[in-house]
């Protein structure tokens, strides 16, 4: 039996949904649909598309030129490095042949945005076929080596390791020492749980108010690229390049947005932003600012305070011995009514009791408030089950101490 029939017999291949249709593509080649230049070097050639935007260009509610307004304090907060220079910063996003890690996944398109000569330049490096990878990477290499920092969305675990795998697989050894600002990590601090997810498209829509029409869904991109390789019909690739371009513009707008949030932290009315900022400062171990954000957060809407906020502020107060501030807060939440804040109430009361017991040695008062809380918890079946055992333990210990 011949080999081909045998291979067919084994059904060794995942069924491809449909054969790529082959129509004449005259007039739909990449250089016709997306104007650009062929770049050549000692490794071969690849295709490059460049777009220039004036700094007054408005995207996602901000001007590109606003990047210059990001101050040292913002950079310090966002990535812990106040010395970043937006003129030496690149915004980067790749489109790939798959999502898996490993050496078989290729970045067929790498988009880079940067500021040069009073313009925002968006340069896209595109492989018209696999053999164009080496020349493409060779051209990309100096850009990455000369930049001071890179801004990405999930680039820490995806784009940058992937590119470095590509460099290694092509025996290049670029010397990169990039400060990496991965905006996904910051988005998660602010909006995890607020929106359905923290993907760039979602954040762009919800936060920046940009609506994309006719955008290609990311999961279709690999297959579309394979189709392009086969047919040379670049009509869908045009959309992919646009998709990549907008992702990069969104990155720059989002960075400006984040820096504005940092700068406006004393004026903002948005409690979730303050919450997010406090976590960001926590990462930088800047507890003065954490406290400022949390205190402002509580002041804005004290009755709707989640336990995470209360716990974190209490820890800071206790660590610095600021009981003058902590005790009134605990008293406030200890007296609060309503089921949804039961966790807050229990936490505050227990903290108060601990304070009375250990700092004041006032066992009587401690017992009194624990007793009161106990009765409260017992009357509520759901919360009672969660908290009662621990409260009972505390109660009996206090009773011993009172005696």
């Amino acid at each position: 039996m011949d080999l081909k029939k045998l291979l067919d017999k084994y059904h060794l291949n995942p069924q491809k949904e449909d054969a790529f249709f082959e129509e004449p593509v005259q007039g739909r080649e990449i250089n016709v649909l997306v104007p650009g230049t062929e770049v050549s070097n000692e490794y071969g050639s690849f295709y490059m598309v460049e777009n220039k935007y004036p700094l007054t260009y408005l995207y996602g509610g901000v001007r590109l030129g606003d990047l210059f307004d990001i101050d040292e304090a913002s950079f310090d907060c966002l990535c812990g490095n106040m010395g970043l220079d937006v003129q030496k910063m690149i915004f980067l996003d790749t489109e790939t042949t798959g999502l898996s890690s490993g050496t078989g996944t290729v970045a067929f398109l790498t988009g880079i945005g940067f500021i040069k000569d009073e313009c925002f330049i968006l340069r896209q490096y595109f492989m018209r076929d696999y053999h164009e990878e080496a020349p493409l990477l060779d051209a990309l290499r100096p850009v990455l080596e000369n930049a001071q920092s890179v801004v990405t969305y999930n680039g820490k675990s995806f784009d940058i390791p992937l590119l470095s795998t590509r460099f290694t697989a092509n025996r290049f050894r670029p010397k990169m020492s990039l400060e990496h600002l991965d905006l996904l990590h910051i988005s998660r601090l602010f909006w995890k749980g607020t929106y359905e997810n923290c993907r760039l498209g979602t954040i762009e829509k919800e936060v920046l108010g940009e609506i994309r029409t006719d955008d290609i869904p990311g999961e279709q991109i690999p297959l579309e690229y394979f189709r392009y390789l086969d047919t040379r019909d670049a009509s869908v690739m045009k959309k992919v390049l646009e998709h990549n371009l907008r992702d990069i513009l969104t990155l720059s707008a989002l960075l400006v947005h984040f820096s504005k949030m940092v700068q406006n932290r004393s004026d903002t009315e948005k409690t979730n932003e303050l919450h997010g900022l406090s976590k960001l400062y926590e990462k930088r171990e800047d507890y003065r600012n954490v406290l400022e954000c949390l205190e402002r957060r509580i002041r804005l809407n004290p009755d709707d305070c989640d336990i995470d906020v209360l716990r974190r502020i209490s820890v800071i107060y206790k660590r610095s011995g600021s009981y003058d501030k902590a005790v009134p807060l605990w008293r406030y939440y200890s007296d609060i009514e309503g089921g949804a804040t039961m966790g807050v109430k229990v936490y505050a009361t227990v903290e108060l009791a601990k304070y009375l017991e250990h700092k004041k040695r006032d066992y009587q008062s401690a017992l009194a408030i624990v007793n009161q809380l106990n009765g409260y918890a017992a009357s509520n079946r759901f919360f009672g089950r969660t908290y009662l055992p621990e409260l009972e333990k505390r109660k009996s210990r206090l009773q011993r101490l009172v005696k």
Partner: protein
């Protein structure tokens, strides 16, 4: 009593003595030493001296010399001969001479890798140099992986991890691949059949990666004693290899006993339970404070025997802990505790599955009882090797069960003692397996025009992959063109990744109890089938053919089921043939299609047919390789159709049981089919085919063994105590129709083959 006295008492005890079919004394062997190789780093020499090693055994020195002179080497010596030093020494020497040197160690199991690490650490500590050694397997925490990739001098892993965790991510391992000096494959005889065929392809991929990073590592392999270590290991590493087998390790006197439990029912071939017999024998040793290990073939039997043996110490507080069970499924911590107890001598008896067969360090015990032939001579020697001290007497007892394979071994101890008949077979060019690894390799690095990978059909396969759009050929290279990560979908332990899993739903918590290949599933796992697993009966309640899952429930019934399979065998191509006058043998490609039409319920013991049911499952097809033998056409006339059919049936049974003796495979890895008049040959024909799509080389080997195989079948039948056939030889006599003695008829067919003459037929 000491060991010698215990053995004497066993010999003189009528209860045991008359069941011993052979008693072999293997004399003690003096050590053969050699000086430390002059090229070896002084620090290693000093460390060895500190450990009390002033000279090496001859094979250790030899292995070192071969390896450092750049020769790929396979070391073939028995258990406990100090094999690990054969690769530890050259590897450590390389690291000491050049701190950038790297080595990759591969062990077939994770447990073994862990154990080897400890030993290596000890030696490194003694040397006092910072040689970083890490295991890298599925259990390695993510946080530690980066450091291992960067800094590990010696990376210890298993083939599965290399396949799916290291090779596809080679760019993260540049340090390793650029500086790889040695690749160590321990227990290489373990990689046979499907697993070995996969490994050979993983090695092909590994070699490509090394070449890409400019390294050219040397292979050091270790093997137990098999007939073809050189053939196997050179097939696995894909190039010639030097054998080092001048074993210089000393050994004490060893007694080897072959024990056949007495017959209870001669006609049915039923013998006394070998578990009970093993228990009585073990008792003799343990009662006399002789440290003993007992190997059994299943986890259930391990527990059963351990429970029996604990009764030796019954009522004596704390003493029951002197007997322990050991098997896969125990948590690592518990295993370590038992291993330690064995080394310290606190534990006096351990019952184990083959989990302790591989080189895990438990020290040397005095007695070993092997309850049931482990399936290969190599395994048997490894298990027997667990008992045996460098000086002093030790004993190993093989206790047979009533299966034909066991009966063959027990009846032919000489076959066993020569131990040179067992071939580990692999077929790296098995199309399914090869194809999978070409995908993985293309994912790892694009193929270049002119590059080779396995057989000459490689280019044709690349073109096929291009056609189905898995690869893209552009500018002299073949690029991976898919979103998939191919290694994830490919398991090294099966050929088709299409196994059916068997789920026990008797308890609220469902439990996977086994698996079977796609081609056997319709026969074994059709709905209402009685599936027997470790001696327990289960009934198949539901077979989810699409999801490849069978749901079974534990039952206790007095019947078994037998599926009626219509097997069609079509010869596609003959590769080799040998036509003598009357008997012809062939080797070639066949297509097997099988359709289960119905099943019968058959009462245990009486074999009455007590019911039947339909089976509605699709036909399965398998393309594989087969070996077949034809008899003269006139035989049907001479013998009569029915007696001929009976004889062929009986012969098929015997062959199915004998062939694994030569192939180091499971009885289920091959199938035997007979045709009274084959469509292809037009003659009475017996086919033996590899029960693995594409085949892994079994039938090819059988083609060349031919007469040996039939001689073994003859020996088995002749040595069997029954008069006209029993399940221990040609099958239960109740399965044969007609008046003639089926045993004689089968023997006459065999004689025809051995003599290539027809006259012996009555």
């Amino acid at each position: 009593m000491n060991m010698v006295q215990v053995l004497e008492s066993i010999k003189n005890n009528k209860r045991f003595g008359e069941n011993i079919t052979k008693w072999v004394e293997i004399p003690e062997k003096e050590a053969v030493y050699c000086d430390f190789p002059s090229a070896m780093d002084q620090k290693i020499k000093d460390a060895l001296v500190k450990r009390g090693i002033k000279k090496l055994y001859s094979h250790q020195g030899n292995a070192f010399e071969q390896a450092v002179s750049g020769k790929d080497t396979v070391v073939v010596t028995p258990t406990a001969s100090g094999k690990t030093l054969c690769f530890h020494l050259p590897v450590l020497d390389a690291v000491l001479k050049d701190n950038d040197s790297r080595a990759l160690f591969m062990f077939p199991t994770k447990a073994l890798a862990q154990d080897q690490m400890l030993e290596l650490h000890d030696l490194i500590t003694e040397i006092g140099v910072d040689v970083k050694t890490y295991t890298y397997d599925g259990d390695t925490p993510q946080s530690a992986r980066k450091a291992i990739r960067q800094a590990g001098h010696i990376v210890v892993t298993n083939p599965d991890m290399l396949h799916s965790g290291i090779l596809p991510h080679h760019t993260k391992w540049t340090k390793l691949f650029e500086n790889l000096k040695y690749i160590v494959i321990d227990e290489i005889h373990h990689y046979r059949g499907v697993f070995g065929s996969h490994l050979a392809n993983v090695i092909r991929r590994l070699d490509r990666i090394c070449k890409f990073y400019g390294s050219n590592p040397i292979y050091i392999c270790c093997s137990a004693t098999i007939a073809n270590p050189q053939e196997l290991s050179s097939k696995i590493i894909g190039r010639d290899i030097t054998v080092v087998d001048n074993n210089g390790a000393p050994s004490g006197k060893k007694h080897l006993l072959f024990y056949n439990p007495p017959l209870v029912n001669k006609e049915l071939g039923i013998r006394k339970s070998n578990i009970k017999e093993a228990y009585y024998l073990a008792e003799q040793f343990i009662k006399n404070d002789i440290q003993t290990i007992i190997f059994t073939r299943s986890r259930v039997r391990v527990e059963l025997l351990a429970t029996y043996l604990k009764s030796i110490f019954f009522g004596r507080l704390q003493q029951e802990q002197k007997i322990r069970a050991y098997r896969g499924g125990y948590l690592p911590l518990l295993r370590r505790e038992i291993e330690k107890g064995l080394r310290s001598g606190e534990i006096r008896g351990v019952v184990s599955t083959n989990a302790l067969e591989l080189g895990i360090d438990i020290g040397a015990l005095e007695a070993c009882i092997i309850c049931g032939y482990p399936g290969s001579v190599a395994s048997t020697w490894q298990q027997a090797g667990r008992a045996g001290r460098r000086n002093g007497v030790s004993a190993a007892v093989l206790v047979a069960d009533s299966s034909p394979l066991n009966q063959y071994v027990i009846g032919n101890p000489d076959y066993f003692l020569e131990s040179k008949s067992e071939n580990a077979m692999i077929n790296p060019d098995n199309l399914t397996i090869l194809y999978s690894h070409i995908m993985c390799a293309a994912f790892e690095l694009p193929f270049e025009d002119g590059e080779t990978f396995g057989p000459s059909t490689f280019l044709e396969i690349l073109k096929y992959m291009e056609e189905v759009k898995l690869l893209r050929h552009v500018q002299n290279r073949w690029y991976w063109m898919s979103e998939e990560f191919p290694a994830n979908a490919i398991s090294l332990r099966t050929s088709a990744n299409e196994n059916f899993i068997i789920i026990d739903i008797s308890e609220p918590k469902h439990n996977v109890i086994g698996e079977t290949d796609r081609f056997s599933a319709p026969t074994l796992l059709h709905e209402e089938a009685i599936y027997i697993h470790e001696g327990n009966q289960y009934q198949v309640e539901k077979l989810d053919y699409k999801e490849k899952k069978a749901y079974v429930r534990s039952v206790d019934v007095d019947y078994y089921t037998d599926a009626n399979v219509a097997v069609e065998l079509k010869v596609l191509e003959v590769f080799r043939e040998d036509e003598s006058q009357n008997i012809q043998r062939f080797w070639g490609d066949v297509m097997i299609s099988s359709l289960v039409t119905m099943f019968k319920k058959i009462k245990l013991l009486t074999h009455e047919n007590i019911g039947a049911g339909p089976v509605n499952l699709p036909e399965t097809e398998m393309h594989t390789t087969a070996y077949w033998v034809t008899f003269p056409e006139e035989l049907e006339k001479v013998m009569g159709k029915e007696p001929l059919e009976s004889a062929l049936f009986g012969l098929s049974n015997v062959l199915g049981n004998c062939a694994p003796i030569y192939l180091m495979c499971d009885v289920t890895d091959i199938h035997v089919v007979y045709h009274v008049k084959s469509v292809f040959t037009q003659k009475p024909t017996i086919f033996i085919y590899d029960n693995i799509p594409g085949g892994v080389g079994f039938s090819e080997k059988l083609f060349s063994l031919h007469q040996q195989l039939f001689q073994a079948a003859k020996d088995l039948i002749q040595k069997c105590g029954c008069s006209d056939g029993c399940p221990s030889c040609i099958g239960a006599s109740a399965d044969f129709s007609g008046k003639k003695n089926p045993k004689k008829a089968v023997l006459s067919l065999i004689d025809m083959i051995l003599n290539d003459r027809m006259e012996s037929v009555e």
